[in-house]
Structures are given as C-alpha cells and as structure tokens.
C-alpha cells in the first residue's frame, strides 16, 4: 500500500518537476522500471550475469559537444625531400579545411600531449591512443608525403582515438604548388571518415559578379579563396547551374539578345559555348536546372508571355511542358531522387512554393506562411527546401520540410538574404546578402551558425551555385 502511494506521489512529483515536459518526466519513470526490474530479477535469482543481474538501462541524450576534434600530425617526408616548409603548410591547409567543416575541427595545438610528427604508415600506429584521448582528440590524422615530379602525393591514415582503430586509409595527389587544394581534399576525406559524409572544403561555388562592370560568371573555393572569372564576353550572364558531374557550368547568356543556354567548361572534355539551341528554339530560356543525373533539364521559358516550366532531355527529344496556367511559373529545383520538382508560382495571386511530380502531375502548394515566397532549393539529403520569404520589404531565408509541416527562418536580418544554394553535404547554405549594403556571397551552416562572407572586394556578387563533390 505504501508503495503504491509513493508511486502515485512520485508521478505527480515528476509531473510537477517537469512542467510541460510530460514525456521526459515519464521517461524517468520508465527508466526506473528498468532499474527495479533488474533488481527484482536478482531477488528472484533469475539473473543472467551474476548474482545481482545486469546494471540498469540508461538513456543518453546529446550534450553540448557538436564537433569532433582531430589531431593533425605533421606528415612524414618519404623519399626525395619535400621540405619542412611545405609539410608545415600542408598541415595548416588541412586544419583550415577541417575548420571549414564545422563538424570535424582541428585539435588546438596547445592541447597536444603526444608528438606532433607522424610516424611512417608502415609502422603500426606508432602513437598512444590514451594520450590523444586525454588531449581531447576524437581522431588522429597521420600521413606521409612524397614528391612525384612536380606533384606531391599524400598518403593518409585516420584513426578513431576512442576505439584505437583505423577509420580510413587513402591517398591524395596534386600539384606541389597547390598545397591548399591537397590539404582541403585530405581534410574532406577526414571529415568523411568520422561523419560518413564527405567534407566540402574542396568544392567550389559559382556566382555572378559585376565587378568588371558586366555581369560575368565567376568560380571560387567554397571558403571564398581563389575567386576567378569563368567567362569574359561582355554580355550579361545569369543563373549559373553546375552540371552534376562538375565538368561544366550552365548559364544563361544574353549574347544573342534573348536569353539562351551556354556552357562554360571545367574540364578538357567539355567544349564551352551555346547549347540546346534547337530546343524551344525562338523562345527565351530564362533558367535551367539539371536533375541529379544530369540527363534532364528543367527549363523556364515563356508561352504567350507567361513563364512556364518545361522538362527536356539533355541529349535531345521533345521538351515536355510541365506547368500550364495563366500565372508565372519559375525557379524549378529537383528533389534529390529526381522524382519531383519544387518551383514558384503566382497562380493564386502571390508567389508561393509548389511541388509537382517530374511529369507535371500531383501538384501541391507547399507554403502558406508569408505573402511572397521564392527561390526554392531542395537539399541534397532531401530533408529541407530552403527558400526566401519577404518580411517587411526585405527577404530572409527559411526552411520548410517537403511535407510543409515545419517551416522556420534560418536567420533573420533587416537586410535582404536571398538565393540559397545547398552544399553537397547538406550541411551548409550559400546565399547572397545585402547586409553590408552591397550584395555579397555568404555561407552558413544550415542552422544559421558559422556565418562567413566569401566575397567583398568589389561589385555586386549574386546567385551563388554550390558545385558538386569533385571526385
């Protein structure tokens, strides 16, 4: 009887203590049951483990730690001399690449307890896991670097310090004067070994800038370094779109007076210049978006003065019209499985986000919040659609899930943020913002953290398009 009372009271108490968090309060109760069962099992001599039975089950929820720490050792020089300077620089670049990831950060140098020089990879390990664990490292990166003509090859090995187990071995080669590239690739591999998704520090972002007076296409590293022009023809360029294999970028050029598709090459195997000229010929092509396979293009063109969305095969065939209404239908973005397209339509009077199947069927409206929603971008992992919404005359970037049930702003700012583009790992978003007065390209984590401005020397910098993984 007493026990019953106590239980009843405790539940009340749990409820009082937890306030509105009913579930958590009860979780305590269920946890307790696990405990009491374990104990009474022992009392009845039914234990499996030993006289007293197993320990009670515990539930663990995430604490504050969000990022892994990786100790990056100085790679060992093998064969022809590489030079201490290069080796130190490579290490620095790897650390920069890790820092960009926000999830696998370099271990602070001050925290190192173990030796900073990597053992050769032939030797098994050559370090003490416990020492590194005490330094706060989750992972340890060892490596060798050797010269191969004008190139450098880095062989790497990532260790899981807690398990004292190898996570990954790999090999990366590159121009010996591009240690930044080499370092970023090593960093991205390291990120993958810990998180299962490759890092994006070695990817690139295309964007449009008028820094020379004309709107041209530029490409830069995802961290903003090495911005360089990809076109120079003194006509307006708009809406860069990477071919999914990364070998070229599609853009819209006004060279012929009306908007048409062109390619800029990122590889010797792609010839730059106008493409898809015979499709929808005579009609403007305002924008093109590739499906994930790169085989299909969703094209915004116009019919009787209203923008409509078409789907066409990159290699030919009849374009298929997907939208058909009196309003404007623009800004298509494919779902990562290629089965659906999200886009903007003002068919109800104000621009809103919609989703349709890739053949134009199964149309449904996604946004009901806000009176002006545009620029949808489907995340590569499929979980979210980023879009811009007008708030008091300027724009903020929000996320909405593809069922339309959850929507919220990533970040709010009194100046306009627009044109979101996802990183291939779905962890970051590039966008343009006028928060400094002039449009610049920024990146942030998808939860709004780690904001970073990538451009800013001159001109207006808009319409970022995050490129694919390079391998």
């Amino acid at each position: 009887m007493r026990q019953t009372n106590v239980v009843g009271e405790m539940q009340n108490r749990a409820r009082n203590l937890r306030g509105n968090s009913w579930f958590t309060g009860l979780r305590g109760v269920s946890l307790a049951m696990g405990l009491s069962v374990g104990v009474s099992g022992a009392a009845f001599g039914q234990s499996l483990e030993n006289e007293q039975g197993p320990l009670p089950t515990l539930e663990i929820t995430p604490g504050a730690a969000r990022a892994f720490r990786t100790a990056v050792l100085r790679f060992k020089e093998v064969g022809a001399p590489v030079g201490a300077e290069r080796i130190a620089k490579l290490r620095e670049e790897i650390e920069k690449g890790l820092a960009f990831s926000s999830v696998v950060l370099p271990l602070r140098r001050e925290a190192y307890l173990g030796p900073e020089d990597s053992a050769g990879l032939e030797e098994a390990g050559g370090f003490d896991c416990d020492t590194w664990k005490q330094s706060g490292a989750d992972a340890l990166l060892q490596g060798e670097v050797r010269r191969d003509g004008s190139r450098l090859r880095a062989d790497l090995r990532v260790w899981d310090v807690a398990r004292c187990k190898e996570l990954k071995v790999g090999s990366v080669a590159g121009d010996r004067d591009r240690l930044d590239q080499l370092g970023r690739i090593v960093a991205d591999e390291t990120v993958e070994s810990l998180t299962g998704t490759r890092g994006v520090s070695s990817t690139e972002i295309a964007f449009i800038s008028d820094r020379t007076g004309q709107r041209e296409l530029y490409v830069m590293s995802a961290d903003g370094r090495d911005a360089r022009p990809a076109t120079r023809s003194n006509t307006i360029k708009m809406f860069p779109e990477w071919v999914p294999d990364g070998r070229a970028i599609l853009y819209v050029s006004y060279a012929s007076g009306q908007p048409d598709f062109h390619l800029t090459s990122r590889s010797d195997s792609v010839k730059p210049g106008p493409i898809l000229r015979n499709m929808l010929s005579g009609r403007p092509k305002y924008r093109g978006r590739f499906d994930p396979t790169g085989e299909k293009v969703a094209v915004v063109s116009s019919v009787d003065g209203a923008a409509e969305i078409f789907s066409m095969n990159r290699r030919g065939g009849q374009p298929k019209r997907l939208t058909n209404d009196a309003g404007i239908d623009v800004s298509p973005s494919w779902s990562p499985d290629g089965k659906e397209i999200t886009f903007v339509s003002d068919r109800t009077g104000s621009p809103q986000i919609y989703i349709m199947d890739r053949d134009g069927g199964n149309l449904r409206r996604l946004t009901y919040t806000g009176s002006y929603n545009t620029s949808p971008a489907w995340s590569p992992d499929g979980r979210w659609i980023a879009y811009e919404t007008r708030v008091r005359g300027q724009f903020d970037i929000w996320l909405i899930d593809p069922t339309g049930e959850v929507t919220f702003p990533i970040v709010e700012h009194p100046r306009t943020d627009e044109a979101p583009s996802w990183s291939p790992d779905s962890r970051k978003i590039a966008f343009s913002s006028a928060r400094r007065g002039r449009d610049d390209i920024y990146v942030m984590d998808w939860n709004g953290e780690n904001l970073m401005r990538l451009t800013g020397r001159s001109g207006k910098n808009i319409q970022p398009a995050w490129g694919p993984q390079s391998r």
Binding site: G28, S40, P54, L55, T57, I60, N447
Partner: protein, 290 residues
Amino acid sequence: MSADFVDWHDEHELDHRRRLRNAMLVSLAIHGVLMGAFAFSSAPHVAKMPEVISVELIGPPLAASSAPKSSAAPKSPRAAAPKPAAPAPPPPPEPEAPAPPPPTPKAPVQVLPEEAPSKIAKVEPKPKPRPKPEPKPPPRRTPEKALSHEDALAALMDELGGDEVSDSLQKAPSKEEPAEPATSGGTPGEGDRREGAKMDSDMARWMVATHRRIQDKWVTPPHLRGRGLATSLELRLSASGAVVGEPKVVGSSGDPNFDDNAVRGVLKAAPLPPPPRGGSVTFIFRSEAE
C-alpha cells in the same frame, strides 16, 4: 556523495539530477511492489522506450511470463499498470497522458530537429507569424522547495525500511490525483528492503554520474541530432568502470553513422564511474531529448 553531485549551480546538471532522482524514488517504490508481485513477462529488448504508462522491461528478460497475479500483486499504482506496452487509452486520471509530443490542436507543427534555428512557425495562412524563440528548455526550477537528492533518498529509505513516512514525501502534492490506496500483497522482509534501498542509492549515484560522463564526451554533430534516432548498446563493465571488450549494438538506429558514433561516445567516456557492481549494461543513445 561523489564529486559529480557537487555543482548545484549547473542548470543542466540540476535538471538531470532531478530526473534521476525521480526515477530513483519511483524505482524504489516499484521495486517493493515488484518484489511482492511476481515476475512479469519479458518484453523483447527494444530500442524504443516504453509507452508512457506501461511497464516495459528494459532490463534483462525475466523468465516468467504471466501477468501479475491479482491476488498476490498489490493493485498496481495507476500509472504503472504492468500492461504490455500498447497505446492503451490513457488511464482516466491523467488527462495529459500518452499523446505524442506537443498536443497541438490541428496545425501539423512538428518537433523541430534540435539543431534547427531557434524559431518555429506553424504553417498557416498569414499573417506571417513572428515565431517566438523556441521554448528553450527553461531553467527547470522546481516549483516546490527543492528536495535534495540525498534528502530524497534518505526519506525514501526510511519509508521503505520503517514505518514512519517521511514528511517530505507525505506532503508531496497530489491534489488532482490522490494516490489510490491499494492492497499490498506479500512484501519482502525488512532486511531485504534495506539492502535493496542501499544498493539503489549507490546505483542512482552511479547512474547520474555515468549519464553525465557519457553526455559530456559523446560528440553529436548537428546532422545527427533531432532525427528521432535511437541506438541501444550493450556492454560489459568491470567493477572499476572499465569497458570490457567492444560495446555491441543490440538495437540499431538504422543509421550506421549514428550507431558508430554511440560506440565512440561510450569508449571516449571510458573508464566510466565505477558501478556498484560489474556486469552488463545497456545504454540507449537518442538523437534528442524528448
């Protein structure tokens, strides 16, 4: 008390301790009840936690499988009816009962992933909501005068061990739900109970310390949070808290990376605080607090 209990000013710790304290108190009570009763049917080892009210054995499966005998078993406390975990209708006195998270009227707003920015808006026609900051787990202060963990334990031990009922427990508010009197069947001897209570207090301390330790060491990157994932790990602990062998994933979350990361979390935290006794233990790692 161990050093892990000292920092009372840490909100997080406070909340945490409170939770375990509640668990502990209830546990002791149920312990008694269960001793009197018979062994319950064993539920399979599952990663999913029991539904609100039902007893779902998280511990090791016990042998017998019959429901508590009505005569021998004390009438079960209303909220702990040892029914199989089922979305049973809420026991009457608990209006708020099992419904999943927030009881929203109709708007299909869902729980945000923990990492999501700090605001949420319902999907509804304008006016555009200026969403409030997400109900940040407010400092969960006890409304009543906080009962220290030690007090609670002591009180409960008294209660279980002797006839006096500690004031603090007796006065616990239970307006809407006066505890239902129940006829109690055979309870074990006093000695056993004292033993049990003593062991449980050590156990509770260990649980608090262990939870804290793992939580501190387990790195959970944003992309693994708020996804409704749960991984059950089974491992063996030596009496000194060392993890013996490799933890085994006995209930996968479905995301190998999350499973893997749970293993990493435990091993990073090892050695754990020395448990009251060595043996096997199950940890359930969740991608978010509920």
